[in-house]
Symmetry: C2
Protein backbone atom coordinates (compact mmCIF):
# COMPACT_ATOMS: atom_id res chain seq x y z
CA UNK A 1 0.00 0.00 0.00
CA UNK A 2 1.01 3.63 0.05
CA UNK A 3 0.69 6.79 2.13
CA UNK A 4 -0.75 10.14 1.13
CA UNK A 5 -0.09 13.68 2.33
CA UNK A 6 -1.87 16.84 1.19
CA UNK A 7 -1.88 20.51 2.10
CA UNK A 8 -4.37 23.31 1.56
CA UNK A 9 -3.58 26.78 2.88
CA UNK A 10 -4.78 30.37 2.52
CA UNK A 11 -1.17 31.61 2.40
CA UNK A 12 1.76 30.03 0.52
CA UNK A 13 2.99 27.50 3.05
CA UNK A 14 5.87 25.05 3.04
CA UNK A 15 5.27 21.43 3.91
CA UNK A 16 8.85 20.70 5.11
CA UNK A 17 7.86 19.62 8.66
CA UNK A 18 5.22 16.99 7.78
CA UNK A 19 7.11 16.06 4.59
CA UNK A 20 10.22 15.16 6.58
CA UNK A 21 8.10 12.91 8.83
CA UNK A 22 6.44 11.19 5.89
CA UNK A 23 9.72 10.67 4.04
CA UNK A 24 11.00 8.54 6.95
CA UNK A 25 8.11 6.12 6.37
CA UNK A 26 9.63 5.40 2.94
CA UNK A 27 12.08 2.74 4.07
CA UNK A 28 12.92 3.77 7.66
CA UNK A 29 9.90 4.07 10.01
CA UNK A 30 7.59 2.58 7.36
CA UNK A 31 7.74 0.05 4.49
CA UNK A 32 6.77 2.41 1.61
CA UNK A 33 10.16 2.23 -0.09
CA UNK A 34 9.15 1.93 -3.76
CA UNK A 35 9.45 5.57 -4.71
CA UNK A 36 7.81 8.84 -3.78
CA UNK A 37 6.61 12.09 -5.33
CA UNK A 38 5.40 15.55 -4.41
CA UNK A 39 3.57 18.20 -6.45
CA UNK A 40 3.52 21.87 -5.44
CA UNK A 41 1.09 24.26 -7.10
CA UNK A 42 2.51 27.68 -7.84
CA UNK A 43 -0.17 29.85 -9.44
CA UNK A 44 -1.46 27.86 -12.41
CA UNK A 45 1.85 26.02 -12.64
CA UNK A 46 2.76 22.81 -10.88
CA UNK A 47 6.19 21.57 -9.76
CA UNK A 48 6.53 17.81 -9.62
CA UNK A 49 9.44 16.04 -7.91
CA UNK A 50 9.59 12.25 -8.05
CA UNK A 51 12.02 9.47 -7.33
CA UNK A 52 12.05 5.67 -7.57
CA UNK A 53 14.55 5.50 -4.68
CA UNK A 54 13.14 5.06 -1.12
CA UNK A 55 12.22 8.52 0.18
CA UNK A 56 14.23 8.02 3.39
CA UNK A 57 17.32 7.68 1.20
CA UNK A 58 16.56 10.03 -1.72
CA UNK A 59 18.86 12.99 -2.45
CA UNK A 60 15.94 14.82 -4.08
CA UNK A 61 13.80 14.29 -0.95
CA UNK A 62 16.68 15.59 1.21
CA UNK A 63 16.90 18.69 -1.01
CA UNK A 64 13.16 19.42 -0.71
CA UNK A 65 13.26 18.88 3.06
CA UNK A 66 15.75 21.74 3.33
CA UNK A 67 14.49 23.95 0.50
CA UNK A 68 11.08 25.32 1.55
CA UNK A 69 8.78 25.57 -1.47
CA UNK A 70 5.72 27.58 -0.49
CA UNK A 71 2.41 26.64 -2.01
CA UNK A 72 -1.37 26.85 -1.50
CA UNK A 73 -1.88 23.21 -2.45
CA UNK A 74 0.50 20.26 -2.20
CA UNK A 75 0.02 16.55 -2.90
CA UNK A 76 2.62 14.02 -1.76
CA UNK A 77 2.80 10.22 -1.97
CA UNK A 78 5.12 7.42 -0.84
CA UNK A 79 4.71 4.12 -2.63
CA UNK A 80 4.66 0.49 -1.70
CA UNK A 81 4.17 -1.11 -5.08
CA UNK A 82 1.52 -3.71 -5.71
CA UNK A 83 0.24 -3.16 -9.27
CA UNK A 84 2.92 -1.88 -11.69
CA UNK A 85 6.70 -2.22 -11.40
CA UNK A 86 8.93 0.35 -9.69
CA UNK A 87 9.69 3.00 -12.31
CA UNK A 88 9.21 6.73 -12.81
CA UNK A 89 6.04 6.44 -14.91
CA UNK A 90 4.37 4.41 -12.13
CA UNK A 91 5.29 6.95 -9.45
CA UNK A 92 2.56 9.18 -7.97
CA UNK A 93 1.43 11.96 -8.07
CA UNK A 94 0.29 11.88 -11.70
CA UNK A 95 -0.26 15.15 -13.55
CA UNK A 96 -2.56 15.78 -16.54
CA UNK A 97 -4.11 18.84 -18.17
CA UNK A 98 -7.82 19.56 -18.59
CA UNK A 99 -9.64 22.89 -19.13
CA UNK A 100 -6.28 24.71 -19.12
CA UNK A 101 -5.53 23.49 -15.61
CA UNK A 102 -2.97 21.10 -14.16
CA UNK A 103 -4.72 18.21 -12.41
CA UNK A 104 -2.71 16.24 -9.92
CA UNK A 105 -3.67 12.89 -8.37
CA UNK A 106 -2.30 10.41 -5.83
CA UNK A 107 -3.93 7.18 -4.66
CA UNK A 108 -3.64 4.68 -1.85
CA UNK A 109 -5.31 1.31 -2.38
CA UNK A 110 -5.98 -1.25 -5.07
CA UNK A 111 -8.71 -1.18 -7.70
CA UNK A 112 -9.09 -4.68 -9.06
CA UNK A 113 -10.27 -5.13 -12.62
CA UNK A 114 -10.71 -1.44 -13.50
CA UNK A 115 -8.43 -1.65 -16.54
CA UNK A 116 -10.82 -4.10 -18.17
CA UNK A 117 -14.04 -2.52 -16.97
CA UNK A 118 -13.35 1.21 -17.30
CA UNK A 119 -12.23 1.87 -20.87
CA UNK A 120 -10.27 4.98 -21.78
CA UNK A 121 -10.24 6.99 -24.98
CA UNK A 122 -8.59 10.40 -24.70
CA UNK A 123 -6.69 10.24 -21.43
CA UNK A 124 -4.23 7.39 -21.82
CA UNK A 125 -1.94 6.17 -19.04
CA UNK A 126 1.83 6.31 -19.49
CA UNK A 127 2.55 3.63 -16.87
CA UNK A 128 0.81 0.44 -15.80
CA UNK A 129 -0.74 1.23 -12.39
CA UNK A 130 -4.45 0.91 -11.58
CA UNK A 131 -4.07 4.36 -9.95
CA UNK A 132 -3.08 6.23 -13.12
CA UNK A 133 -5.86 4.39 -14.96
CA UNK A 134 -8.38 5.60 -12.35
CA UNK A 135 -7.06 9.17 -12.65
CA UNK A 136 -7.35 9.10 -16.46
CA UNK A 137 -10.90 7.73 -16.13
CA UNK A 138 -11.90 10.56 -13.75
CA UNK A 139 -10.61 13.18 -16.20
CA UNK A 140 -12.31 11.41 -19.11
CA UNK A 141 -15.66 11.50 -17.27
CA UNK A 142 -15.09 15.18 -16.39
CA UNK A 143 -14.42 15.93 -20.04
CA UNK A 144 -17.51 13.99 -21.20
CA UNK A 145 -19.76 15.75 -18.71
CA UNK A 146 -18.17 19.20 -19.15
CA UNK A 147 -16.44 19.63 -22.55
CA UNK A 148 -15.88 23.20 -21.33
CA UNK A 149 -15.05 23.99 -17.66
CA UNK A 150 -18.19 23.91 -15.46
CA UNK A 151 -19.68 27.39 -15.03
CA UNK A 152 -19.81 27.01 -11.29
CA UNK A 153 -16.99 25.14 -9.61
CA UNK A 154 -19.56 23.57 -7.28
CA UNK A 155 -21.20 21.83 -10.27
CA UNK A 156 -18.17 19.55 -10.40
CA UNK A 157 -18.36 18.43 -6.78
CA UNK A 158 -21.29 15.97 -6.86
CA UNK A 159 -19.93 14.59 -10.14
CA UNK A 160 -16.55 13.88 -8.59
CA UNK A 161 -18.14 12.42 -5.45
CA UNK A 162 -20.12 9.97 -7.61
CA UNK A 163 -16.97 9.00 -9.57
CA UNK A 164 -15.13 8.36 -6.30
CA UNK A 165 -17.99 6.17 -5.04
CA UNK A 166 -17.95 4.25 -8.34
CA UNK A 167 -14.18 3.69 -8.15
CA UNK A 168 -14.39 2.59 -4.51
CA UNK A 169 -16.58 -0.30 -5.69
CA UNK A 170 -13.45 -1.83 -7.23
CA UNK A 171 -11.50 -2.00 -3.96
CA UNK A 172 -9.72 0.55 -1.79
CA UNK A 173 -9.81 4.16 -2.98
CA UNK A 174 -8.15 6.67 -0.68
CA UNK A 175 -7.10 9.56 -2.89
CA UNK A 176 -6.05 13.18 -3.16
CA UNK A 177 -6.82 15.29 -6.24
CA UNK A 178 -6.24 18.95 -7.01
CA UNK A 179 -6.63 21.42 -9.86
CA UNK A 180 -4.76 24.19 -7.94
CA UNK A 181 -8.06 25.75 -6.73
CA UNK A 182 -9.27 22.91 -4.49
CA UNK A 183 -7.88 19.86 -2.75
CA UNK A 184 -10.31 16.95 -3.05
CA UNK A 185 -10.02 13.79 -0.95
CA UNK A 186 -11.89 10.50 -0.80
CA UNK A 187 -11.64 8.08 2.11
CA UNK A 188 -12.20 4.40 1.58
CA UNK A 189 -10.31 3.03 4.59
CA UNK A 190 -7.80 5.50 6.03
CA UNK A 191 -7.51 9.29 5.94
CA UNK A 192 -7.09 11.88 8.70
CA UNK A 193 -6.77 15.65 8.73
CA UNK A 194 -6.01 18.58 10.94
CA UNK A 195 -6.68 22.30 10.44
CA UNK A 196 -4.17 24.61 12.07
CA UNK A 197 -5.20 28.19 12.78
CA UNK A 198 -4.70 30.91 15.37
CA UNK A 199 -3.87 30.46 18.24
CA UNK A 200 -1.10 28.25 16.85
CA UNK A 201 0.62 25.77 19.12
CA UNK A 202 3.39 23.21 19.08
CA UNK A 203 3.52 19.86 17.30
CA UNK A 204 5.89 16.90 17.44
CA UNK A 205 6.49 14.46 14.60
CA UNK A 206 5.44 10.86 15.26
CA UNK A 207 8.27 9.48 13.10
CA UNK A 208 11.12 11.62 14.40
CA UNK A 209 12.20 13.45 17.53
CA UNK A 210 11.44 16.86 16.02
CA UNK A 211 9.13 19.50 17.49
CA UNK A 212 7.95 22.74 15.93
CA UNK A 213 6.21 25.82 17.35
CA UNK A 214 3.89 27.09 14.59
CA UNK A 215 3.31 30.29 16.58
CA UNK A 216 6.76 31.53 15.46
CA UNK A 217 6.17 30.70 11.79
CA UNK A 218 2.66 31.97 11.12
CA UNK A 219 0.46 35.07 11.23
CA UNK A 220 -2.96 35.11 12.99
CA UNK A 221 -4.74 35.02 9.60
CA UNK A 222 -3.14 31.76 8.42
CA UNK A 223 -5.31 28.68 7.99
CA UNK A 224 -3.60 25.45 7.02
CA UNK A 225 -5.10 22.01 6.61
CA UNK A 226 -2.94 18.90 6.42
CA UNK A 227 -4.49 15.62 5.30
CA UNK A 228 -2.70 12.28 5.45
CA UNK A 229 -3.26 8.52 5.46
CA UNK A 230 -2.49 8.43 9.19
CA UNK A 231 -1.57 11.30 11.55
CA UNK A 232 2.00 12.56 11.20
CA UNK A 233 2.12 14.59 14.44
CA UNK A 234 0.96 14.34 18.06
CA UNK A 235 -1.82 16.91 17.41
CA UNK A 236 -5.50 16.02 17.46
CA UNK A 237 -6.33 14.83 13.95
CA UNK A 238 -9.86 14.14 12.68
CA UNK A 239 -10.32 10.66 11.23
CA UNK A 240 -12.35 10.43 8.04
CA UNK A 241 -14.98 7.69 7.76
CA UNK A 242 -15.49 5.20 4.95
CA UNK A 243 -17.08 6.96 1.97
CA UNK A 244 -16.20 10.48 3.15
CA UNK A 245 -15.62 12.94 0.30
CA UNK A 246 -13.75 16.04 1.47
CA UNK A 247 -13.06 19.36 -0.21
CA UNK A 248 -10.57 21.96 1.01
CA UNK A 249 -9.75 25.38 -0.37
CA UNK A 250 -7.66 28.13 1.19
CA UNK A 251 -7.15 25.75 4.11
CA UNK A 252 -10.87 25.56 4.89
CA UNK A 253 -13.27 22.66 4.44
CA UNK A 254 -16.03 23.21 1.85
CA UNK A 255 -19.42 21.57 1.84
CA UNK A 256 -22.12 20.97 -0.73
CA UNK A 257 -25.56 19.48 -0.63
CA UNK A 258 -26.97 17.18 -3.24
CA UNK A 259 -30.66 17.54 -4.01
CA UNK B 1 14.86 35.43 -26.53
CA UNK B 2 15.88 32.16 -24.96
CA UNK B 3 18.46 29.40 -25.26
CA UNK B 4 17.89 25.71 -25.86
CA UNK B 5 19.92 22.62 -24.95
CA UNK B 6 19.11 19.02 -25.84
CA UNK B 7 20.75 15.63 -25.48
CA UNK B 8 20.27 12.31 -27.28
CA UNK B 9 22.43 9.35 -26.29
CA UNK B 10 22.58 5.59 -26.75
CA UNK B 11 23.48 5.10 -23.07
CA UNK B 12 21.98 6.92 -20.08
CA UNK B 13 24.12 10.05 -19.93
CA UNK B 14 24.21 13.00 -17.57
CA UNK B 15 24.16 16.52 -18.96
CA UNK B 16 25.90 18.15 -15.97
CA UNK B 17 28.86 19.57 -17.95
CA UNK B 18 26.91 21.42 -20.67
CA UNK B 19 24.06 22.19 -18.22
CA UNK B 20 26.44 24.03 -15.90
CA UNK B 21 27.68 26.13 -18.84
CA UNK B 22 24.16 26.97 -20.00
CA UNK B 23 22.97 27.84 -16.48
CA UNK B 24 25.58 30.62 -16.32
CA UNK B 25 23.91 32.27 -19.33
CA UNK B 26 20.81 32.70 -17.16
CA UNK B 27 21.85 35.95 -15.51
CA UNK B 28 25.66 35.74 -15.44
CA UNK B 29 27.35 35.21 -18.85
CA UNK B 30 24.01 35.75 -20.65
CA UNK B 31 20.78 37.74 -20.21
CA UNK B 32 18.31 34.79 -20.06
CA UNK B 33 17.38 35.38 -16.44
CA UNK B 34 13.60 34.86 -16.53
CA UNK B 35 13.51 31.25 -15.41
CA UNK B 36 14.73 27.92 -16.69
CA UNK B 37 13.68 24.29 -16.91
CA UNK B 38 15.02 20.86 -17.74
CA UNK B 39 13.23 17.58 -18.55
CA UNK B 40 14.95 14.20 -18.24
CA UNK B 41 13.34 11.12 -19.76
CA UNK B 42 13.65 7.99 -17.66
CA UNK B 43 12.01 5.07 -19.47
CA UNK B 44 8.48 6.23 -20.30
CA UNK B 45 8.59 8.66 -17.39
CA UNK B 46 9.79 12.25 -17.49
CA UNK B 47 11.32 14.33 -14.69
CA UNK B 48 10.75 18.05 -15.00
CA UNK B 49 12.62 20.64 -12.94
CA UNK B 50 11.73 24.29 -13.37
CA UNK B 51 12.35 27.60 -11.69
CA UNK B 52 11.36 31.21 -12.22
CA UNK B 53 14.59 32.38 -10.56
CA UNK B 54 17.62 33.10 -12.85
CA UNK B 55 19.38 29.78 -13.49
CA UNK B 56 22.75 31.21 -12.45
CA UNK B 57 21.25 31.81 -9.02
CA UNK B 58 18.80 28.91 -8.63
CA UNK B 59 19.20 26.42 -5.78
CA UNK B 60 17.39 23.78 -7.87
CA UNK B 61 19.83 24.36 -10.76
CA UNK B 62 22.76 24.04 -8.34
CA UNK B 63 21.33 20.75 -7.07
CA UNK B 64 20.99 19.31 -10.60
CA UNK B 65 24.50 20.49 -11.53
CA UNK B 66 25.87 18.27 -8.75
CA UNK B 67 23.36 15.41 -8.89
CA UNK B 68 23.95 13.58 -12.17
CA UNK B 69 20.62 12.36 -13.60
CA UNK B 70 21.34 9.94 -16.44
CA UNK B 71 18.99 9.93 -19.38
CA UNK B 72 18.72 9.01 -23.08
CA UNK B 73 16.96 12.27 -23.93
CA UNK B 74 17.08 15.65 -22.19
CA UNK B 75 15.54 19.03 -23.08
CA UNK B 76 16.64 22.19 -21.31
CA UNK B 77 15.69 25.86 -21.69
CA UNK B 78 16.68 29.21 -20.21
CA UNK B 79 14.19 32.00 -20.69
CA UNK B 80 14.31 35.65 -21.57
CA UNK B 81 10.65 36.56 -21.46
CA UNK B 82 8.95 38.42 -24.26
CA UNK B 83 5.39 37.03 -24.53
CA UNK B 84 3.93 35.96 -21.16
CA UNK B 85 4.92 37.11 -17.68
CA UNK B 86 7.56 35.37 -15.54
CA UNK B 87 5.77 32.54 -13.75
CA UNK B 88 5.98 28.76 -13.47
CA UNK B 89 3.24 28.04 -16.02
CA UNK B 90 5.11 30.11 -18.64
CA UNK B 91 8.41 28.31 -18.02
CA UNK B 92 9.70 25.83 -20.62
CA UNK B 93 9.94 22.90 -21.22
CA UNK B 94 6.23 22.13 -21.43
CA UNK B 95 5.01 18.56 -20.97
CA UNK B 96 1.80 16.98 -22.32
CA UNK B 97 0.56 13.45 -22.90
CA UNK B 98 -0.47 11.92 -26.22
CA UNK B 99 -0.71 8.24 -27.28
CA UNK B 100 0.40 7.19 -23.77
CA UNK B 101 3.66 9.08 -24.13
CA UNK B 102 5.09 12.15 -22.42
CA UNK B 103 5.80 14.86 -25.00
CA UNK B 104 8.19 17.59 -24.01
CA UNK B 105 8.78 20.89 -25.86
CA UNK B 106 10.98 23.97 -25.58
CA UNK B 107 11.08 26.94 -27.95
CA UNK B 108 13.29 29.87 -28.78
CA UNK B 109 11.75 32.71 -30.78
CA UNK B 110 8.50 34.58 -31.19
CA UNK B 111 5.43 33.52 -33.14
CA UNK B 112 3.31 36.59 -33.75
CA UNK B 113 -0.43 36.19 -34.04
CA UNK B 114 -0.59 32.41 -33.64
CA UNK B 115 -3.06 32.57 -30.76
CA UNK B 116 -5.62 34.19 -33.05
CA UNK B 117 -4.84 32.18 -36.16
CA UNK B 118 -4.22 28.68 -34.81
CA UNK B 119 -7.25 27.69 -32.75
CA UNK B 120 -7.06 24.95 -30.14
CA UNK B 121 -9.70 22.50 -29.01
CA UNK B 122 -8.39 19.59 -26.93
CA UNK B 123 -4.90 20.69 -25.95
CA UNK B 124 -5.35 23.87 -23.98
CA UNK B 125 -2.45 25.98 -22.67
CA UNK B 126 -2.05 26.55 -18.93
CA UNK B 127 0.05 29.69 -19.34
CA UNK B 128 0.05 32.60 -21.78
CA UNK B 129 3.13 32.06 -23.97
CA UNK B 130 3.06 31.74 -27.75
CA UNK B 131 5.41 28.76 -27.24
CA UNK B 132 2.99 26.64 -25.21
CA UNK B 133 0.26 27.55 -27.70
CA UNK B 134 2.47 26.28 -30.57
CA UNK B 135 3.19 23.08 -28.65
CA UNK B 136 -0.52 22.44 -28.00
CA UNK B 137 -1.22 23.09 -31.69
CA UNK B 138 1.41 20.54 -32.78
CA UNK B 139 -0.10 17.88 -30.51
CA UNK B 140 -3.60 18.76 -31.70
CA UNK B 141 -2.54 18.28 -35.35
CA UNK B 142 -0.83 14.99 -34.41
CA UNK B 143 -4.02 13.80 -32.77
CA UNK B 144 -6.17 14.85 -35.73
CA UNK B 145 -3.89 13.09 -38.22
CA UNK B 146 -3.26 10.02 -36.03
CA UNK B 147 -6.04 9.41 -33.47
CA UNK B 148 -4.04 6.27 -32.63
CA UNK B 149 -0.20 6.29 -32.62
CA UNK B 150 1.22 6.07 -36.17
CA UNK B 151 2.05 2.49 -37.13
CA UNK B 152 5.52 3.44 -38.24
CA UNK B 153 7.34 6.12 -36.28
CA UNK B 154 8.70 7.48 -39.56
CA UNK B 155 5.12 8.32 -40.67
CA UNK B 156 5.18 11.12 -38.13
CA UNK B 157 8.36 12.76 -39.36
CA UNK B 158 7.15 14.51 -42.56
CA UNK B 159 3.99 15.59 -40.67
CA UNK B 160 6.07 17.23 -37.94
CA UNK B 161 8.43 18.83 -40.47
CA UNK B 162 5.44 20.42 -42.23
CA UNK B 163 4.02 21.69 -38.90
CA UNK B 164 7.40 23.23 -38.05
CA UNK B 165 7.54 24.95 -41.46
CA UNK B 166 4.00 26.27 -40.91
CA UNK B 167 4.86 27.61 -37.45
CA UNK B 168 8.07 29.23 -38.72
CA UNK B 169 5.86 31.37 -41.01
CA UNK B 170 4.74 33.25 -37.88
CA UNK B 171 8.24 34.34 -36.85
CA UNK B 172 11.22 32.61 -35.29
CA UNK B 173 10.82 28.91 -34.47
CA UNK B 174 13.89 27.21 -33.06
CA UNK B 175 12.60 24.30 -31.04
CA UNK B 176 13.31 20.97 -29.37
CA UNK B 177 10.65 18.27 -29.01
CA UNK B 178 10.80 14.73 -27.67
CA UNK B 179 8.51 11.79 -26.94
CA UNK B 180 11.29 9.83 -25.18
CA UNK B 181 12.09 7.85 -28.35
CA UNK B 182 13.40 10.70 -30.52
CA UNK B 183 14.71 14.21 -30.13
CA UNK B 184 13.30 16.48 -32.84
CA UNK B 185 14.71 19.92 -33.61
CA UNK B 186 13.78 22.74 -35.96
CA UNK B 187 16.10 25.60 -36.84
CA UNK B 188 14.73 28.94 -37.83
CA UNK B 189 17.71 31.15 -37.02
CA UNK B 190 20.13 29.52 -34.54
CA UNK B 191 20.90 25.91 -33.64
CA UNK B 192 24.15 23.96 -33.49
CA UNK B 193 25.02 20.39 -32.58
CA UNK B 194 27.92 18.08 -31.91
CA UNK B 195 28.06 14.27 -31.82
CA UNK B 196 30.63 12.84 -29.45
CA UNK B 197 31.84 9.29 -30.04
CA UNK B 198 34.98 7.20 -29.76
CA UNK B 199 37.80 8.26 -29.74
CA UNK B 200 36.59 10.75 -27.10
CA UNK B 201 38.63 13.87 -26.43
CA UNK B 202 38.63 16.91 -24.20
CA UNK B 203 36.27 19.87 -24.17
CA UNK B 204 36.27 23.23 -22.42
CA UNK B 205 33.19 25.24 -21.54
CA UNK B 206 32.83 28.61 -23.28
CA UNK B 207 31.08 30.16 -20.27
CA UNK B 208 33.36 28.89 -17.52
CA UNK B 209 36.96 27.87 -16.97
CA UNK B 210 36.07 24.18 -16.77
CA UNK B 211 37.54 21.40 -18.91
CA UNK B 212 36.49 17.77 -19.13
CA UNK B 213 38.11 14.68 -20.65
CA UNK B 214 35.26 12.52 -21.97
CA UNK B 215 37.71 9.65 -22.50
CA UNK B 216 37.62 8.97 -18.75
CA UNK B 217 33.81 9.04 -18.52
CA UNK B 218 32.70 6.99 -21.51
CA UNK B 219 32.99 3.57 -23.13
CA UNK B 220 33.96 3.11 -26.81
CA UNK B 221 30.34 2.26 -27.70
CA UNK B 222 28.86 5.54 -26.41
CA UNK B 223 27.35 7.99 -28.88
CA UNK B 224 26.09 11.31 -27.52
CA UNK B 225 24.67 14.26 -29.43
CA UNK B 226 24.31 17.66 -27.82
CA UNK B 227 22.23 20.33 -29.56
CA UNK B 228 22.05 23.95 -28.43
CA UNK B 229 21.16 27.45 -29.58
CA UNK B 230 24.86 28.32 -29.77
CA UNK B 231 27.92 26.13 -29.01
CA UNK B 232 28.61 25.60 -25.30
CA UNK B 233 32.15 24.19 -25.66
CA UNK B 234 35.30 24.77 -27.68
CA UNK B 235 34.62 21.62 -29.77
CA UNK B 236 33.72 21.73 -33.46
CA UNK B 237 29.94 22.11 -33.56
CA UNK B 238 27.83 21.84 -36.74
CA UNK B 239 25.63 24.86 -37.39
CA UNK B 240 22.10 24.15 -38.59
CA UNK B 241 20.70 26.20 -41.45
CA UNK B 242 17.40 28.03 -41.67
CA UNK B 243 14.57 25.52 -42.15
CA UNK B 244 16.62 22.49 -41.04
CA UNK B 245 14.55 19.78 -39.41
CA UNK B 246 16.70 17.36 -37.41
CA UNK B 247 15.93 14.02 -35.78
CA UNK B 248 18.17 12.24 -33.29
CA UNK B 249 17.73 8.90 -31.59
CA UNK B 250 20.23 6.93 -29.53
CA UNK B 251 22.65 9.79 -30.16
CA UNK B 252 22.56 9.35 -33.94
CA UNK B 253 21.03 11.58 -36.58
CA UNK B 254 18.08 10.03 -38.48
CA UNK B 255 17.02 10.93 -42.01
CA UNK B 256 13.87 10.52 -44.05
CA UNK B 257 12.93 11.24 -47.62
CA UNK B 258 9.65 12.75 -48.70
CA UNK B 259 8.24 11.48 -51.99
Amino acid sequence: MCELLGLSANVPTDICFCFSGLMLRGGKTGPHKDGWGVAFYEGRGCRLFQDTIPSSNSEIAKFIKHYPIKSHHVICHIRRANIGKICLENTHPFVRQLWGRNWCFAHNGQLRGIKKKLKLQHFEPIGTTDSEHAFCWILEQFHKKFPKPPKKETDLWPVLKKLCDDLAEYGVFNMLLSDSHHLYAHCSTKLAWITRKSPFGKAKLIDDDVEIDFHHRTTPKDIITIIATTPLTDEEWTRAKKGDFLIFSEGKQKFFTTI
